[in-house]
Structures are given as structure tokens and as C-alpha cells.
């Protein structure tokens, strides 16, 4: 559940930054407060420049955390102005970060088998989730899909937990050739209807739609982490609305991605696109 009261605006120094895959960067921030409070699936909202360009903060999932050492990491791909500026960061630079924000993954008491599925950069929140699940003794299986070998990252993070992700690439450069839904479906067929299995996914909209469909088809409940444009990230702009699937009363109802999500039950919101 949400850790709302504990989030803060923090000036976080950069500890390290690495290009872990083509155009994909992993940045470690020093922040005892944020690393202490974060839960898997939550995000941070980063002011990428000192000036007003870009104007708004940029949201990123908390990728990995070490509360004892007081750091957390974010993983991103350069897609525009803000992510490009962040890629220029150097150790010692300081960024204003608000976090942790939002409602992360909720692991049901009953969960014995957790399937973690990441599409592309959707792998970002999964190392943190895997670590917590593994520490709790849950059996964790990781599925990662990517366009090509060069787009894959964080595999060692899973490896260091003793997990070996099932990989699929669209060009077949590593793992199965095609979408990760194929090996996942094979596994879901085995698990169909299992009351102690749960699906945790993150990725682009099309991918999340597929996950929602699989979840339904194989009767394995799932949670999805979605992305929307956000102006604030903490509930004051009401800009990050997502249509709710289950309507209360008549008329349209919306959920706010930043405080009701970004993680939702897979039948909770409409995914357009």
C-alpha cells in the first residue's frame, strides 16, 4: 500500500551512472529517506534540469534499493529532452527528487509463485520487487521481453538473486525469438487457475493489454504498472486520469495514476492505445 505520508522532496546526489544497454542508463542516487521508504512499484519524480526546461518533473520507477546503504536506482532509456539531460549526469551532481510516490505492487498473502514480466524498459521496477519477494521466500520467475539483445538490462540484478530470467527478443538475438508472451503462455497453461500464483507486469500499453488478457484467460490474477503523462505525481493536478473499468454508479469514473496507481489490478483500468 501507499507510503504517502513518508514521501519527501529531497536533493539527491548522484553516486554513479552507467550505460547498461544501448541508450539505457542506470543511475544510483544517494537518499536515506527515499531508499528507506520505497516499496516495489513506487516511483520518484525527478527535476532533470536546474532551469525551467523542461518545466515538469520526469517520473521513473524505483528500480533497485539498498536502504542500509542509503541509495536507490532508476533505469531509463533516452526518449526525449528530459531523459537526454539525465543521461549527462555525473557523480556528484545533485537532482531534486520527490519520492517515493504512488501505490506499488501489493503481494497477496496467498502468493507462493510470483511471475514477474517486463516488456522493454518495463523491467525497471522488477529487480526491487524480485528482491523483496525472494527475501520473503516466495518463488519468483522472471520473464523479460525486448526488441534485441542490446536493449536488455538488469539481468545481473536478477542473477545475483539466483534468478534466471526467461528471455525473448523480437529479432531472436538472444533467448526465444518473438514476444515474451510465448514462453509465458506455456507457463501459464501449467499454472491455470492456481490460487497461489500471481502475475506482476510492467511495460508499454500494448504489452499490458496482452498481460491483462492472459491473466483473465488463465485465471491468474495480475497487477500492471502503467505510465501516463503526469504534471505533479502526487495528486494535485488531476491530470493523470485513467478510465476505471469497474464503474461506481453511473457515468465515467477515473483513477489517478499517480496516487491510485501506477500499479493497478489488471482489471481495474481501461488501457487505450
Amino acid at each position: 500500500m501507499s507510503a504517502l505520508p513518508s514521501r519527501a522532496v529531497c536533493d539527491c546526489p548522484v553516486d554513479a551512472i552507467t550505460e547498461v544497454a544501448d541508450g539505457t542508463h542506470l543511475l544510483r542516487f544517494r537518499s536515506p529517506v527515499i531508499s528507506n521508504q520505497s516499496l516495489p512499484g513506487q516511483f520518484v519524480n525527478i527535476k532533470v534540469s536546474g532551469g525551467q526546461h523542461p518545466l515538469l518533473r520526469r517520473p521513473f520507477s524505483v528500480c533497485r534499493v539498498n536502504a542500509r546503504e542509503g541509495w536507490f536506482e532508476v533505469l531509463w532509456k533516452v526518449v526525449g529532452q528530459g531523459t537526454a539531460i539525465m543521461a549527462q549526469a555525473r557523480p556528484g551532481d545533485t537532482f531534486s527528487v520527490i519520492g517515493p510516490l504512488g501505490r506499488g505492487y501489493t503481494v497477496p498473502e496467498s502468493t507462493r509463485t510470483a511471475l514477474l514480466v517486463g516488456g522493454g524498459l518495463g523491467v525497471a521496477p522488477l529487480p526491487f520487487l524480485a528482491e523483496n519477494l525472494a527475501a520473503a521466500g516466495t518463488s519468483v520467475e522472471v520473464y523479460v521481453g525486448a526488441r534485441s539483445k542490446g536493449d536488455l538490462s538488469m539481468l545481473e540484478a536478477f542473477g545475483s538473486l539466483g534468478l534466471e530470467p526467461v528471455i525473448a527478443t523480437e529479432d531472436g538475438s538472444v533467448g526465444a525469438c518473438g514476444f515474451v508472451t510465448a514462453p509465458l503462455t506455456t507457463r501459464l497453461k501449467e499454472l491455470q487457475g492456481a490460487p497461489d500464483a500471481h502475475l506482476f507486469s510492467c511495460g508499454p500499453t500494448g504489452f499490458l493489454k496482452a498481460m491483462t488478457a492472459l491473466s483473465k484467460q488463465y485465471e491468474i490474477p495480475g497487477q500492471i504498472a502503467i505510465e501516463t503523462v503526469m504534471a505533479c505525481g502526487f495528486g494535485i493536478c488531476v491530470g493523470c486520469a485513467v478510465p476505471a473499468k469497474r464503474q461506481v454508479g453511473t457515468g465515467r469514473r477515473y483513477k489517478l495514476a499517480c496516487i491510485d496507481g501506477p500499479v493497478f489490478d489488471s482489471d481495474e483500468v481501461e488501457l487505450d492505445g
Binding site: 494535485i236 493536478c237 488531476v238
Partner: protein
């Protein structure tokens, strides 16, 4: 030590730095991110008679130096507001101004009826950028006669301070401000968002679902200042300045031009600590410039010879 207290008609505030409606939620969302008690006043999100779900997404998009929004006045409605939101706000050590939205003059009146017997409300800000259903969608404050009409009706309902928040999307805002003043409001808030539009050239769709939307942020500051100047020069009514205020320099421009208080809007999204920081820096500026009290600053614009 400079005295930061300010007067907006009958309202006395400990400092002139407020937060703008719709850019601060109901206050509670911001707990832990800034100290609400440092504000001169909180202005709530627009409250309407019935709850409103708001518009389909995308509701917002970022632009260089600003953003577009069409939230569609999503809000819990006045009953839920009183039950769920007001207790928190009323307990704060700052003034509380409730912003009200309506589609007809009766809507405003009805909302006020629900609020009148609630203590701890220090004033109402009337969002007159709402499309007026009777006037074919023209905003209430796009026409002086409509403005005067709706103000007249509302003024009869309450003794509390009334602030008319005006749209900048008009030919002569001084005429609207004069009509609001004549109708009996105690102050005007200038400005609500400019009408703006943006297109995604790949999909060729509007970047906001609703189409044209509200433009806010630093990019609109020069327009907001021009509106404040126009009203300050022509109408005898206290002005609350709004539009693109991010830092103390922005706030000073509005105060010097003639605003007796200011509201921080879009900047809250980026830095919820903006408003308290402006309070601190305003005090520093006044001390550095040996200004003992705000009236020495307000409207102190010098003309070129």
C-alpha cells in the same frame, strides 16, 4: 523586519502568497512536501454542486515554459467537500478561500448555501472561467453584463469576502473587472488560464482530448501582468495576481504592478515548496530594499520619463 501582512478588501492575510485553485488539490495531498501554514491562504480546487468525474485523458500536456490542461473541473462536489476535505483545511493555521464553479448563476448560489454555515471559511473565489450554459458556452467573465448579473445574484447570499476570478480571454478586462466591482465583489483574481491548443503532428490529433485547453505556467506571465496593469490603472478594486509565478522575482513583478497578493499555480506541480520559498525571499527583498511594509511595494511601478 519587513511586515508581510496584506489586505484584500475585508480579508487580512499574514502574507500575500497564496496557492491557486486546481493546482494544490484539497491541501492534504501536499502534506509532507511543504508547510501549509506558511501560506497567506489556501485556495481550494473548484468545488461544484454535484461531483464531476472530469474529462477523458489526455487531460494535460507539457509545452516549453508551460502546459495545457483540460481537467474538466473534476471534483468531489460540495457535499463530499464539506464532509471529507473541509475538516483538514479548516484546521490549518492559514486562511481558507473556497473556489466555486458553476454552469448557471444558481449553481454558485447553491454551493454557497452548502458552505455558509461552515465555520473557518474566510472567503469565496468565484471561478468565472466556467462555460455559462445559458450563454452558449461563453465564459461567465467574457461579458460585462453576464459578469454583473451573476455577481449581483451571488452577492445577496453571503457576507463573506467574494473574489471574482476572471478569464484573460477578453478584449478589455477592465470592463469585466469594473462590472464585477460594481456588482459588489471585494477583489478580483487575475488571471485564469489562456485558451491554448497543441497538435501532435504524427497522429494529427489534438494533444488534449477536449481540444482547446487552458494554458498556464511561466509562458503566460507577461499576459497576466498586462491584465493586472490594465485593471490596476482603470478600476478601483484589490487585485490578486496569478499566472506563471515560480519565484520571488515573478511575485514582485505582480506586486509592483499593483496586485496586493499573488497565487502560485503550475509551479506547485514542479516544486511544492515554491510558495513558502517566495514568502522567505520576499521578506529578504523587502529588508534589502528597506521596505517596512507591503503597501510600499504594491503598485509602486515607476514610469519612464
Amino acid at each position: 523586519m519587513a511586515d508581510l501582512t496584506t489586505t484584500i478588501g475585508p480579508l487580512q492575510l499574514k502574507n500575500p502568497v497564496l496557492v491557486a485553485s486546481g493546482t494544490f488539490g484539497y491541501g492534504q495531498e501536499v502534506v509532507g512536501l511543504m508547510d501549509l501554514n506558511r501560506l497567506g491562504a489556501v485556495v481550494t480546487k473548484s468545488v461544484s454542486l454535484e461531483p464531476r468525474p472530469g474529462n477523458p485523458p489526455p487531460r494535460i500536456c507539457e509545452l516549453p515554459g508551460g502546459m495545457l490542461n483540460s481537467i474538466g473541473l473534476a471534483n468531489v462536489g460540495v457535499e463530499a467537500f464539506v464532509e471529507q476535505k473541509l475538516p483538514f483545511l479548516a484546521a490549518l493555521d492559514t486562511k481558507l478561500i473556497v473556489n466555486i464553479a458553476g454552469r448557471t448563476p444558481d449553481d454558485y448560489v447553491a454551493v454557497i448555501h452548502h458552505l455558509e454555515d461552515q465555520p473557518n471559511i474566510d472567503g469565496y473565489e468565484l471561478n468565472f472561467s466556467c462555460p455559462n450554459v445559458k450563454k452558449g458556452g461563453l465564459e461567465f467573465s467574457q461579458d460585462p453584463t453576464t459578469t454583473a448579473g451573476v455577481v449581483n445574484v451571488i452577492r445577496k447570499q453571503t457576507q463573506r469576502p467574494l473574489i471574482a476570478k476572471l478569464t484573460p480571454n477578453v478584449t478589455r478586462i477592465r470592463e469585466i473587472a469594473q462590472a464585477a466591482a460594481d456588482g459588489g465583489v471585494d477583489a478580483v483574481s487575475l488571471i485564469n488560464t489562456l485558451v491554448g491548443f497543441a497538435v501532435d503532428v504524427e497522429t494529427r490529433r489534438p494533444r488534449i482530448h477536449a481540444g482547446a485547453a487552458g494554458y498556464s505556467g511561466p509562458a503566460i506571465k507577461p499576459v497576466a501582468l498586462a491584465k493586472v496593469l490594465e485593471v490596476a490603472e482603470h478600476v478601483d478594486i484589490p487585485i490578486i495576481g496569478i499566472g506563471g509565478i515560480c519565484n520571488v522575482t515573478d511575485a514582485l513583478e505582480f506586486l509592483i504592478t499593483g496586485a496586493c497578493a499573488i497565487q502560485v499555480g503550475t509551479a506547485n506541480f514542479i516544486d511544492p515548496g515554491s510558495a513558502p520559498r517566495i514568502v522567505d525571499e520576499l521578506e529578504q527583498y523587502m529588508n534589502a530594499h528597506k521596505l517596512a511594509a507591503l503597501p510600499e511595494l504594491i503598485g509602486s511601478l515607476k514610469k519612464w520619463s
